[in-house]
């Protein structure tokens, strides 16, 4: 039985009890507990069900590597699934729930999977790939829903997140990752030499394993006291920033690191502080002092609750004062686990035996264990664990040289198995950005190769590993390695005062080398390996890896994907090395030849909130508003996004029957503009000034039309293609002076067009004397369109807007109604139309003056939908509707706007290519549906022939489709293969299972074909 020890626990405060809820049950812990230690103190050993087999699972570890104890923590808007109990700090009122079981944690129907798996080869490597192949349709309707319900981790939260998150952008000389003794030494050495240092530690405590290993003395004091001294010294230095609860999730190119700080997870809802903070750090040098992780040993049933890593057992005893069991068996391949036996013994927990895989056991730690009266069995190992929801005992036997279990097998009763397969340096960060590893056969570990570390922008290695992360598992080496790394890092960033902090004297117990043991037993009765778990979280066993190798998945990257080894949220922290060693054995290769899989960020999962930061709701994306925006809102505008802009879609008026619908408003706006006069806020229209002696020459190259021949004061509609020959923007170009042009672009295209112009000016025609400037925001613009438009402007007065003074496609500057204005006689509606531009700060004044002056002439504002319908009635194209990046001007019957005289323009050569000049390309046509009330769906496809069963061949699609109030019928534009030769042809559009809409190909100009209305 697991229980709280009467005394001890370095990080808990027994004077501060904390109440929490686990699966609805009220439990007690202490401040300083993790959810894991508090649950263990309450004898809650069963903490979850496994992913595939639903096997009972408990804690394996005490830290970031824990694969099993994933829970849903918190409630409502603060609920988060899949939290590692070992990383959740206990606080008053915490609620936690277990996952992946039905109906309950203790009795789970899904556990049948495990029973089935023991009798048939299901859920083994590649099971899904092999089994759920046919029939195809069953995958979607049968297999996937069933598998999704049975497998999987926690459920996502249902409510919006109640917390705030933020990003920090930080530069430092030296980033030290890890707050153990190596990291602290590195930080101290770097800081003493004047470097700006950021040191972060993922847990709430500095010191790492030094807090636990009480046998070791540093500088004549306990590790914990020495750590306290170092932390005090560092926190007094102004060039040092220190953060606990801050995990470095990934290293990226050129010294870029992402840190994940859990600011308020332990004080939920704290005022004035974000819950998580993402640190975006650019460091000159990075010191990786991330320590090492202990490896489990794959023996049969090594996942029964009560089987734990030896170091974790020691952590629970010494850090949190919790005994994970009453009677323990320690199974080890090295000296280190003897510390666990001694810690348990000191705490009054019986140790039935230490089983040491090594045939010969010498050394001081084993000697101390023997002296304490603990039975040490050299050359022994655990063959199998007994028990279901909790360890009841172990079957043990003597290990032969070949790794078989030989001789008589015995049974030892126990409720706790502490295993240690040796230590693996945490090389994740080192490897994220290309750092290479080297295999140390003697220490049985992959360690960083300092010559082949990650490099910076200048090509120099910019990351240094130190301490246990560098393969140095002994205290004195950790300390000196850390100091050297700190010195080198500081020096490389230009900080070398020659300061070397004094090396403290270390009293530690020397340790002998481990015996590598990757699979227990490697041969013999238990070696089928189906219960020898490697990856606890993804339920991958030794047998799965062997099967993968037999089936030809010999590359470690293939075996990983086939078995899903190491692909769970713990990223294989406890499983990768064992897995690849078993793979190596199976294919008869050496471990370094097999190599590791790619380590990828994040080291442990980070929250979506932290990634999002402040970019939520209104701050997700900047919204651009015109100077008249508030006025529109007050006027009943329904807005729609156009690029980054918010534009009125329509203005819904109040009527005696209530507020108009959108459709009613749009119809009214169109008819009013056609019959009287409408006002459109056209401020969003892109405006780019192109100026200089070569401006005309430049625009001749940018537009398909000839622009250099435009007379000052005149306007010309222009098309812009890319070098592939495809149309990408259009707009009216105005010559505002001898060497100055104003280029109008689409609302969404202004930035793109400006960037396009600059690209060509800077990278191809850099000898041209031309400047470009985007002035979209500098001007507010209103389109006054309709038969009464001239009357409105004349009433405002100040500028002669008669047809004689200002004919169609011309431009004038003047003072209109007291406002300095530019007036363009251009039309996108087909009506008599003026676009009036004033400096942006006068935009609202202009709008109000126009509305007031227009009142007697029936002026009403109209929105973007009315704009769209009116331009479609006129057969005007809209970039993004009629174009999709594969359409040329010729396809749209705009060949008249493509100059034949010019020697060159962007896209000219491409338009000469056979493909673009070929017959049968899709061309723009108008469509008139047989039923005038029927509006074709946007994007509907025309087919060659309507067929009931087989696939139909499409010949084109609808690009714009509306009901035209002006014409009282539906209208549409479409791109149809060889469209210009199909005039009068009736096309079929199958729009639903039993519905085909028929439409006749017509001229796309539906209204006022001669353009008489705009020329008055």
């Amino acid at each position: 039985m697991a229980h709280r020890l009467p005394s001890g626990g370095l990080v808990i405060d027994r004077s501060k009890p904390v109440e929490f809820t686990f699966n609805g049950q009220k439990l007690k812990g202490f401040e300083g507990d993790t959810l894991a230690s508090a649950l263990l103190a309450n004898d809650q050993v069963l903490l979850g069900r496994s992913f595939k087999y639903h096997r009972p699972r408990g804690l394996i570890a005490s830290g970031a590597e824990e694969p099993n104890a994933l829970m849903g923590v918190g409630e409502g808007p603060r609920f988060e699934p899949n939290q590692r109990a070992t990383g959740v700090e206990l606080h008053q009122g915490l609620t936690a729930r277990t996952q992946n079981h039905w109906p309950s944690l203790g009795f789970d129907v899904g556990a049948l999977n495990s029973w089935i798996a023991s009798r048939a080869p299901v859920f083994s490597a590649g099971f899904y790939y092999k089994t759920f192949m046919f029939p195809r349709v069953a995958w979607k309707h049968v297999f996937e829903p069933v598998i999704r319900r049975a497998a999987g981790l926690g459920k996502p939260p249902k409510e919006a997140d109640a917390d705030e998150y933020e990003h920090f952008h930080v530069h430092c000389d030296v980033l030290v990752v890890g707050g153990g003794i190596a990291g602290l030494s590195a930080a101290r050495a770097a800081a003493a030499n004047g470097a700006r240092v950021l040191i972060c530690e993922q847990t709430p405590h500095w010191g790492g394993r030094a807090l636990v290993e009480t046998e070791t003395q540093i500088g004549g004091m306990s590790g914990a006291d020495w750590v306290r001294g170092e932390v005090t010294a560092l926190s007094g230095m102004e060039n040092v920033t220190m953060r606990t609860r801050c995990m470095t999730s990934g290293l990226y190119d050129h010294g870029y690191a992402l840190l994940y700080e859990r600011v308020a997870d332990h004080v939920p809802g704290a005022e004035g502080t974000p819950r998580h903070r993402l640190w975006r750090v650019r460091a000159g040098r990075i010191v990786v002092a991330t320590g090492a992780l202990e490896r489990p040993i794959p023996f049969a049933n090594n996942d029964v609750p009560g089987v734990m890593l030896a170091s974790a057992v020691r952590d629970y005893v010494r850090l949190w004062g919790v005994a994970p069991g009453e009677k323990a068996v320690v199974f080890t391949t090295n000296d280190d686990a003897y510390r666990t036996a001694l810690a348990l013994h000191e705490a009054g927990v019986a140790v039935a035996a230490v089983l040491d895989a090594r045939a010969e056991v010498k050394g001081e730690l084993p000697a101390r264990a023997r002296a304490a009266g603990i039975e040490v069995r050299a050359g022994y190992g655990v063959a199998k664990v007994k028990g279901g929801k909790r360890v009841k005992g172990v079957e043990i036997g003597r290990l032969t040289g070949m790794g078989q279990v030989g001789g008589r097998r015995e049974e030892l009763a126990c409720d706790l198995v502490a295993m240690s397969g040796g230590w693996s340096p945490v090389v994740h960060l080192w490897s994220h950005c290309g750092g290479k590893l080297t295999w140390d056969a003697e220490a049985a570990m992959f360690r960083p190769d300092p010559e082949r570390g990650p490099t910076g922008h200048d090509g120099a290695v910019n990351t240094l590993a130190c301490g246990a992360a560098n393969g140095y598992l002994h205290t004195d080496l950790c300390l000196s390695d850390g100091r050297v790394a700190g010195m080198s890092a500081a020096s490389a960033t230009g900080h070398s005062r020659g300061e070397m902090p004094e090396a403290p004297e270390v009293q530690a117990i020397p340790q002998a080398h481990p015996r590598p043991l990757w699979f227990m037993p490697a041969r013999g009765k238990y070696a089928h390996g189906t219960k020898h778990f490697l990856d606890y979280q993804n339920d991958v066993t030794a047998a799965d890896v062997q099967l993968a190798a037999r089936e030809g998945y010999e590359s470690v990257e293939h075996a990983k994907r086939y078995t899903t080894l190491g692909m769970a949220t713990d990223q294989g922290k406890t499983s990768n090395i064992n897995g690849l060693a078993i793979l190596a054995d199976q294919i008869g290769a050496e471990i370094p030849q097999v190599g590791t899989t790619t380590f990828r960020p994040p080291y442990t999962p980070i929250s979506f909130g932290a990634i999002t930061g402040r970019a939520r709701g209104p701050l997700f994306k900047a919204v651009r508003k015109t100077p008249m925006h508030d006025r529109h809102a007050a006027n009943g505008a329904d807005f729609e996004p156009v690029g980054d802009w918010e534009r009125p879609y329509c203005f819904r008026r109040m009527t005696p029957e209530g507020r108009e619908s959108r459709a009613q408003a749009v119809t009214r706006e169109i008819l009013n503009a056609r019959q009287k006069v409408g006002l459109l806020d056209a401020s969003t229209l892109g405006k780019i000034v192109v100026k200089g002696p070569d401006a005309g020459k430049f625009l001749d190259l940018v537009y398909t039309n000839m622009m250099s021949t435009l007379k000052p004061g005149r306007c010309r509609y222009g098309l812009m293609c890319n070098e592939n020959g495809f149309l990408f923007d259009d707009g009216v170009v105005v010559r505002t002076g001898e060497d100055e042009f104003l280029c109008h672009t689409t609302s969404g295209g202004a930035d793109r067009v400006h960037a396009h112009m600059e690209e060509w000016l800077q990278t191809e025609w850099w000898d041209f004397q031309v400047y470009t400037q985007q002035v979209t925001d500098q001007w507010a613009q209103v389109a006054v369109a309709g038969p009464n438009a001239r009357k409105v402007l004349e009433k405002l007065g100040g500028v002669d807007v008669s047809d004689a003074a200002l004919p169609f496609m011309s431009y004038v500057e003047g003072t209109l109604g007291g406002l300095p204005a530019r007036i363009f006689r251009i039309s996108f509606s087909g009506e008599l139309s003026y676009e009036v531009a004033v400096p942006a700060n006068l935009g609202l004044a202009l709008w109000e003056k126009l509305a007031e002056a227009g009142e007697e002439f029936g002026a009403m504002p109209y929105g973007t939908e009315a704009l769209h319908v009116m331009r479609a009635e006129k057969g005007f194209i809209m970039i993004g509707d009629e174009t999709d990046g594969t359409v040329t001007p010729q396809d749209l019957a705009l060949g008249w706007a493509v100059s034949k005289k010019k020697a060159d323009f962007i896209g000219k050569r491409a338009q000469e290519r056979a493909f673009l000049a070929a017959k049968g390309r899709k061309q723009l046509v108008g469509l008139a549906t047989e039923d005038p009330a029927e509006v074709l769906p946007d994007g509907a496809h025309a087919v060659k022939e309507v067929k009931a069963k087989s696939r139909m061949i499409t010949i084109g699609h609808v690009t714009s489709s509306y009901f035209s109030p002006t014409l009282g019928r539906s209208i549409a534009m479409a791109l149809i293969e060889g469209g210009s030769e199909r005039m009068g042809e009736v096309l079929s559009f199958p729009v639903a299972k039993d519905k085909v809409v028929k439409a006749t190909v017509v001229d796309p100009v539906f209204y006022d074909k001669e353009g008489e209305r705009q020329n008055v």
Binding site: Y252, D253, H254, G255, Y256, R282, G434, T455, G456, H457, D458, G459, E723, N724, A755, E758, E759, Q762, T763, E764, W766, A903, D904, K908, R909, A910, E912, R913, A914
Partner: protein, 106 residues
Amino acid sequence: MLLLTCPHCGVSGDETEFAPGGEAHLKRFGPGSSDGEFETYLFYRRNPKGVHFERWRHAFGCGKWFHAARCTVTMEVFGTYPADVTEPPAELVETIRAKRPEWEGF
């Protein structure tokens, strides 16, 4: 997240401050060129493993285009220079040669 230095304004910034523009020093083929020349100009790119010359724009800075010489394997940036040239500066070529003796040259 590359660290790039704009040769126009001298600012060293995160990759996200810049916009990539593909391979540098392409020779434009316009009207009058053969189909082969035009295709090569428009579609064929070198994609080397190693030394690469590429175009960048300081999009969220001074707005200027420049070229960077970069190793596509190690991400090392050998240097950056303005875009209004048809070949990399001689000193930069020397620098790259010294660091990558096996490089075939520009």
